[in-house]
Amino acid sequence: MTKMSTTIAGVHFKNPIIMASGTFGFGREYGKLYDVSLLGGISGKGLTLHPKAGNPGTRVYETASGMLNSVGLENPGVAAFLEKECPYWETLDTARLVNLGGGTLEDYVLGAEMIQRDADLRSSLGKTAVDMIELNISCPNVKEGGIAFGIKTSEAQKVVQAVRRATKLPLAVKLSPGAENIVEMAQMCEEEGADAVSLINTISGMKIDVRRRSSVFNNLYAGLSGPAIKPVALRMVHQVAQNISIPVIGMGGITSATDIIEFIMAGASVIQVGTYNFMNLRAGSQLVEELEQFMVQENIQSLDEIRGII
């Protein structure tokens, strides 16, 4: 039996495969197709304090080996998530990451406080629904906040500091590839008490409809994901992993067991699968199986053997 498990800040991941925020809802839909408890973890749809309707107009456009999205953080808000989704999350035997976004510093803090209060209440009843907060300071598709916090380390620091104070839950910070200096950004997160960093979020991109002479997106730009961004993601994971001592959650264009191994070799502790969920609705369960097979074939007893070997 190969060892695929890892622990981050006391949170056990039975394997390194986490389904990425924004591609997996809150797990219910995929739960009709396969047992999501097979997964190492899930990161829920990005939440904001208040419900958000998202962006009007075209929300997705395909590119060479990738996909641009401009969903704009449509979500039901933290309160509705805690009330309606957490009872389902309580039933899952997988690490559950709540992805928290925001427009203002205050929104981030209030959101984190609500999640903490809910966690305390559930804990007093012997239950757990959220294992970790994944702080999203890097959504490129919202006008206020979002990416603005993700570019400047000094701005990001305010959010990370404030959220760290607001919650005792393990905290991962999801970084933007658009950060001025991704290594400095990750180091700041570590200094401010984050337990892990997730990278990378989507890369800001564009698509022009030449006949209509306009961008296909109302917001002009959109977030590029999928296999097209994998080399960039891998490089950033490698750079960051060498310069911090907290774990790295790597993601960007993963579609196979060998992609996962690449990220682990680059230094990631665990990985997230995003766009591939749309290419293959059963991606999660298939990748778990494929990774196990690959490790047996390559005689890898444990992911610890190969983590960060490059």
Binding site: E29, K32, M67, E74, M279
Partner: protein, 234 residues
């Protein structure tokens, strides 16, 4: 995975695809199909045209790279298909009109089979197709080429009206439904919406539809909505 049983060209850019599967489906539901590897990234939603014991049929129009690849499929090829997905048309009682515009006729064939005695209105911009298949299923069949099919329907004559077609047609049907209601008619109008989708199962929120009670998902809450629920922005 399903095997292609046939893929017949009906007219310029319009094809009738039959795929072996016993997954079935209800009227107005759809499947996500792909017949390629990594590119295009997304599978394509195709509404159910007909359900048989061991196969499902689709009618599609070639509009982009995905449907272009579908058009080259031949008998024996394999396609990946997931489904059936979505909330389709309701099984209703009373007098029903089915109104289809262009490739929007696709889901109405299976509806017609479930709703004996319905009147069917099919509108095409240039060339009609598949109309003879509808004829034996209709109490009355009206076909219009180059006109505006909605002009041929008196909504107040029906208990239920099912509409599928291009966006402006759906919006016009909504207005026609409101006018009928204001004139005292109890006609219930249902619209089948088309939207870009990534997952098809309600997780990605790409296909979000503005409705009176907030954002809904075309893939999971729809594609069929009660007409008065939908807010058309343009």
């Amino acid at each position: 995975m399903g095997m292609v049983l046939s893929n017949e060209r009906l007219t310029d850019g319009v094809y009738h695809l039959k795929v072996e599967t016993n997954s079935g489906g209800k009227m107005g539901q759809f499947y996500m199909l792909r017949a390629w590897g990594a590119y295009p990234i997304l599978s394509r939603p195709l509404s159910i045209h007909e359900v048989n014991e061991d196969s499902v049929e689709f009618l599609y129009h070639v509009v982009g790279e995905g449907t272009e690849i579908f058009s080259r499929l031949t008998s024996g090829d394999s396609v990946e298909l997931e489904g059936p997905f979505g909330t389709g048309f309701p099984q209703v009682e009373g007098k029903v009109a089915l109104i289809g515009g262009g490739i929007g006729i696709a889901p109405l064939y299976y509806c017609a089979k479930q709703l004996p005695g319905c009147d069917i209105y099919l509108g095409f911009s240039r060339e009609a197709y598949r109309t003879e298949a509808f004829r034996p299923l209709a109490a009355e069949l009206t076909v219009d080429v180059g006109g505006f099919i909605l002009d041929r329907v008196d909504f107040s004559q029906y208990d239920h009206v099912f509409v599928c077609g291009p966006h402006p047609m759906l919006k016009a049907a909504q207005l026609k439904g409101i006018a009928a209601e204001e004139a005292g008619s109890k006609t219930k109008v249902y619209l089948s919406l088309e939207n870009r989708m990534a997952c098809g199962i309600g997780a990605c929120l790409v296909c979000s539809v503005s409705c009176r009670d907030g954002q809904r998902k075309a893939c999971a809450d729809g594609p069929v909505f009660r007409s008065e629920e939908v807010i058309f922005h343009d």
